[in-house]
Symmetry: C2
């Protein structure tokens, strides 16, 4: 009988944040592809687009006009998924028809006034302004009495449902703690209660020791491919200090996060010499007024591309019904990302 080799043999890995398993099929990368390809659709954009509803000075569909902003800009989403309004809810749901009204606020954050940029093409100082705004928004929204959770995220690229190339992210702030955050919190708390330490603190220590999946690090943050990653080039950014939320960041920590974001997204763009699509977002303590010593600030990056700028991983069928499955191993992806330069491919010759 052959001995198990995680680079060759199908296996399952355990994700302690979500308490679930994923299937890894490293032998499957050679599979030929005859299926759908994506139009990577990343033509060079102009710095200002008169038809863009996020550019400074332009009028949005709602009729509101954006100010002539410089740098970052935040406003309430004109087509939010949540509403502030409180509604009266007469009790009386049956066993199976359980629903509850949900209040919240959706905001859009422009990362820059320059329509042509994306995070990897912005200066660290300008990314730092985005981090500052995230902190300010987490504070402002979190302080509202009907807001118990603030989800900060970015959808980048058409393939990720992003309808406008102008560099921007979103915030969905709401009364309830969403399903995946609740599940993460449950697992962080279980670990914290039994070990008196943060799960991610201990995990980070092991990853730094092994040094197999670490992509980038500075004094305050580490970017790595988690051992249990399910998307081909999935990564996490974890704070070295156990900070429960962005509110607790020091000035150097805010700059250090901006630096890591710049480095990681530059490497991403360099994977296929294309603007690398992803959904990314922050997981941190809810703003429900309780103490959350179990929480440890981190960001998830979920990029869909697999073989090229045109071929993505489809999370369908088996993945929707059974469990996430990946072809290339997390260590293979980490190797690719580690080896890539920190200079953006567009600036290679400068």
């Amino acid at each position: 009988m052959n001995t198990f080799n995680p680079k060759k043999n199908p296996h399952r890995r355990y994700n302690p944040l979500l308490d679930e398993w994923i299937l890894v099929s490293p032998q499957r990368s050679e599979r030929p592809w005859q299926g759908q390809t994506e139009d990577s659709g990343h033509e060079q954009q102009p710095s200002y687009d008169p038809g863009c509803y996020l550019c400074p000075g332009n009028t949005r569909i709602s009729g509101e006009k954006n100010p002539d902003y410089k740098g970052v800009y935040v406003f309430d989403n004109d087509f939010g998924s949540l509403m502030r309004e409180e509604v009266e809810y007469p009790a009386g749901t049956t066993d199976f028809f359980v629903m509850k009204p949900e209040r919240g606020i959706n905001r859009v954050i422009c990362f820059s006034d320059d329509h042509s940029l994306t995070l990897p093409e912005m200066e660290v100082g300008d990314i730092r302004n985005v981090v500052d705004l995230w902190q300010q928004q987490y504070r402002e929204l979190g302080a509202m009495d009907f807001i118990n959770h603030v989800q900060i995220f970015e959808n980048k690229g058409r393939i990720m449902g992003c309808s406008n190339p102008h560099p921007h992210g979103q915030i969905w702030a709401q009364s309830s703690i969403p399903t995946l955050v609740q599940r993460t919190q449950h697992n962080l708390k279980k670990y914290f209660d039994s070990h008196g330490r943060s799960l991610l603190e201990d995990y980070l220590e092991k990853e730094l020791e092994t040094d197999e999946r670490v992509i980038l690090k500075n004094e305050h943050f580490v970017a790595l491919v988690p051992f249990w990653a399910s998307w081909p080039y999935e990564t996490m950014v974890i704070s070295r200090r156990k900070l429960s939320d962005i509110n607790q960041f020091s000035e150097p920590e805010k700059t250090a996060l901006a630096e890591i974001l710049k480095g990681l997204t530059v490497k991403y763009d360099n994977v296929f010499n294309t603007s690398f699509p992803y959904s990314a977002g922050i997981h941190q303590a809810p703003t429900d007024g309780s103490d959350h010593p179990e929480w440890h600030f981190h960001m998830h990056f979920y990029p869909p591309l697999l073989r090229s700028a045109e071929v993505k991983k489809f999370m369908v069928g088996y993945e929707m019904l059974a469990e996430p499955q990946r072809d290339l191993s997390p260590e293979q992806s980490a190797e690719v990302l580690k080896a890539l330069p920190l200079v953006h491919y567009k600036n290679k010759d400068k």
Copy 2:
């Protein structure tokens, strides 16, 4: 204060199968769309395609030649995610690097020798042959001692990662019970242990009583939009009898399932007069040798289209980090599906 109206106000609904919540934003359907559109790509296919590796008589990439089959045909996937081979696994994983070798078998099932067909365009009698094969495969694979779970599913359409239009599905049979099946089983068992009845039996009763989300029914099966559906036109097919698995189906039940599948997929194609993409699959008792009185056979259909044949729902950003979100309410979708004819749009004039 206004009174809660689930047709107008954002709210969350509870999914008892997965023990999680989803966010419903019925007010959001009017949002304009400037994002990615799909090439629905469903040109009429020929009945035989010499370049198709699933057509009768053709040679596959592996060098194997398909027989001149009529009707259904099953074979081992040439590029499986799992392997039969047993490997030795020396214990000794640390706390965070938990992995286990996984054995299994991947198969491909051709639904028909006719390259140009899809389930909704097949005769009920021919779909019945597919159901028979599912039963036979569940039995055969389930009887193997290293197979404890048999996942039967179909990815339909390029947008769902299906690389070949030839009508076909897949089976991934493996040693472990996959994450989502395990979670479903846990919740079914909790209900069964405390009520002495199947969760889906009781749920079905309530849905038939309310008759708001039921799309189709016959003597043995019901197709409905679940109260907690997260995809725009998501449905479930549930057996009226509490059957734990397809093994227990009677002859009339097998025909009745074929009929429901025909009706449901015809309605799907009629939503946008296009071949309607989806991932679908069976959830049923694992083949781990234990008794599973808690299990109740059902199928999930997860179709991605939202507004048109070209605009899908993107489960990204908030959905990947926080929880599933839908725009149109499950009742609105049920209304659309209910109203659609049982005659396929291509046969309207016949």
